[in-house]
């Protein structure tokens, strides 16, 4: 029990001290969280990082390779790629975050209800989810955005449809596990209505599972978002967005590879940081 004794010690230490200790124990997670914090800052106040406008056209300086004046080079109309990547952060992350939120709320509630009540509700919803799952994710995204038209709202819809089944299944299996537990039985004996048990007890216990999936799935959504943007089905120009910049760079790939290099790196780094954080969180949950 020596470990338990030392574990209770940090309570007395100042909070920053505990932070340093955690960071030292999980350096990968600390790195990931740091990158994510920086990304949030970039998304919140892009002007702080990029002095140039992401829209300013300067034909005289089109297709310039990276230099001191243009850190990431310029595109075919002379726009600064650095400014476009920095300003695109908000758009890209906001789309992914909101799509995942919609998927998590609808899928999470649907899955919990399905698992809690079982019976024909469970059967029907399960079949519906199977149908969505029978399409490979990217293909589903291509159909929805392609058919409804490339608009930001349709992109968000497509991404949330793709990820809804993931949350549904996680929440359902969580709810099925909770239903059998004694506290649910106790609540029933006390005469609590089913809806109250569902809302106050089961949903609350399923929530951590859903939150965990939110982080685990985020890098995957980011990649599909970028892929749809790359196919021209995402955010439309001239709005800066990582996938949209990639799409624009495709035709000049051998002439000006920097247009594609940097937004792709942005996706890679963000996904990498998210994965490091997610893995560390998963480990700490598994330990408990």
């Amino acid at each position: 029990m020596a470990q338990a004794d030392t574990a209770s010690l940090p309570q007395a230490l100042p909070p920053w001290h505990r932070l340093v200790r955690t960071a030292r124990r999980e350096p990968a997670m600390a790195g990931g969280v740091l990158v994510l914090a920086l990304l949030c800052l970039v998304a919140a106040v892009p002007g702080l990082f990029a002095g140039q406008s992401p829209y300013a056209i300067d034909v005289a300086n089109a297709l310039q390779p990276p230099s001191a004046a243009h850190l990431f080079g310029t595109d075919d109309t002379g726009r600064d790629i650095f400014a476009r990547v920095i300003h695109g952060t908000r758009m890209t992350l906001a789309i992914c975050a909101s799509a995942l939120l919609i998927a998590a709320v609808i899928g999470g509630i649907g899955g919990t209800v399905s698992g809690f009540f079982g019976g024909w509700i469970d059967q029907g919803l399960g079949r519906l989810i199977d149908v969505v799952l029978s399409f490979p994710p990217i293909i589903l995204g291509v159909i929805v955005t392609g058919v409804l038209g490339p608009e930001t709202s349709n992109l968000i819809l497509a991404l949330s449809v793709i990820y809804l089944p993931v949350f549904f299944r996680i929440a359902r299996s969580g709810a099925v596990g909770e239903v059998g537990k004694t506290y649910v039985e106790a609540a029933r004996c006390l005469g609590l209505p089913e809806a109250t048990i569902l809302r106050r007890h089961v949903l609350r216990n399923v929530l951590p599972l859903v939150l965990m999936q939110y982080i685990v799935q985020f890098p995957l959504v980011l990649q599909i978002q970028a892929a749809l943007g790359f196919l021209g089905l995402g955010v439309q120009p001239p709005t800066p967005d990582w996938g949209a910049i990639l799409q624009q760079g495709k035709d000049a790939i051998l002439l000006a590879p920097w247009i594609s290099l940097f937004p792709g790196l942005a996706v890679l780094i963000t996904a990498f940081a998210l994965m490091l954080t997610g893995r560390a969180l998963q480990r700490s949950v598994d330990r408990r």
């Binding site: 029978s134 990217i138 291509v142 058919v147």
Partner: protein, 314 residues
């Protein structure tokens, strides 16, 4: 076995039928059909009406669906509204191209991913493990089309080589065919190898911590025998399952690399059909994708039961 198979198969068919209805409805729920696209803004109502009748678009949706699914069950997916070719021929041609890419990618991912995963699992916590895990995470984080683009830039600037622009079937010229498929397969295969390697590692690590392995080591069984007889045999099943999962993943990823490298596979067929609102082609291609993914899952499920005698059909 027979009863399980029948039930599993029936469930798949119901899902496929529901999926085909969903596809049919999505495609038609949207403003701007093929007639509007053909005639543009300046069409007069009379010709719009007659063209809509020609394509059967003036019928109720359920009648249209009934006609389509009835013919499709007999292998007739109709005629492309934009090219005039039979859809079944177009879909089969495209499917063969995609299948070639998918299978070669699977081979590459297995050949690279499994040894890497075994290595990093056995040497858990040492520098080779860290190195391989970094590769795995980078591969999982990298977007596939971007990797393809960067490989293209790398190869063309380092070797001065770029793939042929016009697709050649393996029957026409195997060399040209492989030359054009080389980069997309490399990009897709490396990223899938990363995923596979990560999965193999997890399985090896958890097997290493099992009691039977500890017992085997403790009683002095040689390391090689522990590895082949105890570990490898027990993780074989999840590894096979993962191959099926990868194949469906690859089916999705192919859409993007096909459009990137101008390869006439299912993915490009789907994209073009969406852009031109060519409903018969879109429906046919989608149905084939859904059924292919479903058959892979079914196959894996059955294989699972053949390999592992412990899994008996519930």
């Amino acid at each position: 076995m027979g009863r399980y198979l029948a039930r599993r198969f029936a469930a798949s068919i119901i899902t496929a039928v529901l999926a085909s209805i969903v596809v049919f409805l999505i495609v038609r729920a949207v403003p701007g059909d093929v007639v509007a696209q053909m005639l543009g803004q300046t069409s007069d109502p009379a010709s719009t009406q007659s063209l809509r009748a020609f394509f059967g678009l003036d019928q109720p949706v359920w009648t249209q669906y009934g006609r389509w699914i009835g013919a499709a069950l007999q292998g007739d997916f109709g005629i492309s509204w934009t090219g005039g070719r039979p859809v079944s021929m177009m879909v089969v041609d495209a499917f063969l191209v995609t299948l070639e890419i998918a299978l070669l990618t699977l081979v590459l991912a297995t050949v690279v991913g499994v040894p890497l995963g075994l290595l990093s699992g056995i040497y858990e916590g040492t520098w080779p493990d860290t190195l391989i895990q970094t590769f795995n995470l980078l591969g999982l984080a990298a977007p596939v089309f971007w990797t393809g683009l960067m490989l293209l830039v790398l190869v063309s600037s380092a070797l001065g080589w770029s793939p042929p622009l016009v697709y050649a079937a393996p029957g026409e010229s195997l060399a040209d065919n492989l030359a054009i498929l080389f980069l997309p397969i490399l990009a897709l295969g490396l990223l899938q190898a990363a995923a596979y390697s990560q999965f193999v590692r997890q399985n090896v690590v958890s097997a290493l911590h099992q009691d039977y392995v500890r017992t085997a080591i403790a009683k002095g069984v040689p390391a090689r025998i522990v590895f082949f007889k105890h570990i490898l045999r027990n993780i074989a099943i999840p590894l096979v399952t993962f191959m099926g999962l990868m194949l469906t993943q690859i089916l999705g990823g192919v859409v993007i690399v096909e459009s990137l490298f101008a390869i006439p596979g299912l993915g490009r067929l789907l994209l073009t059909a969406i852009q031109t609102r060519d409903y018969p082609v879109l429906q046919g291609a989608l149905l084939v994708v859904v059924i292919a993914a479903m058959l892979v899952n079914l196959g894996v499920d059955l294989l699972y039961r053949v390999i592992d005698p412990r899994v008996r059909l519930a």
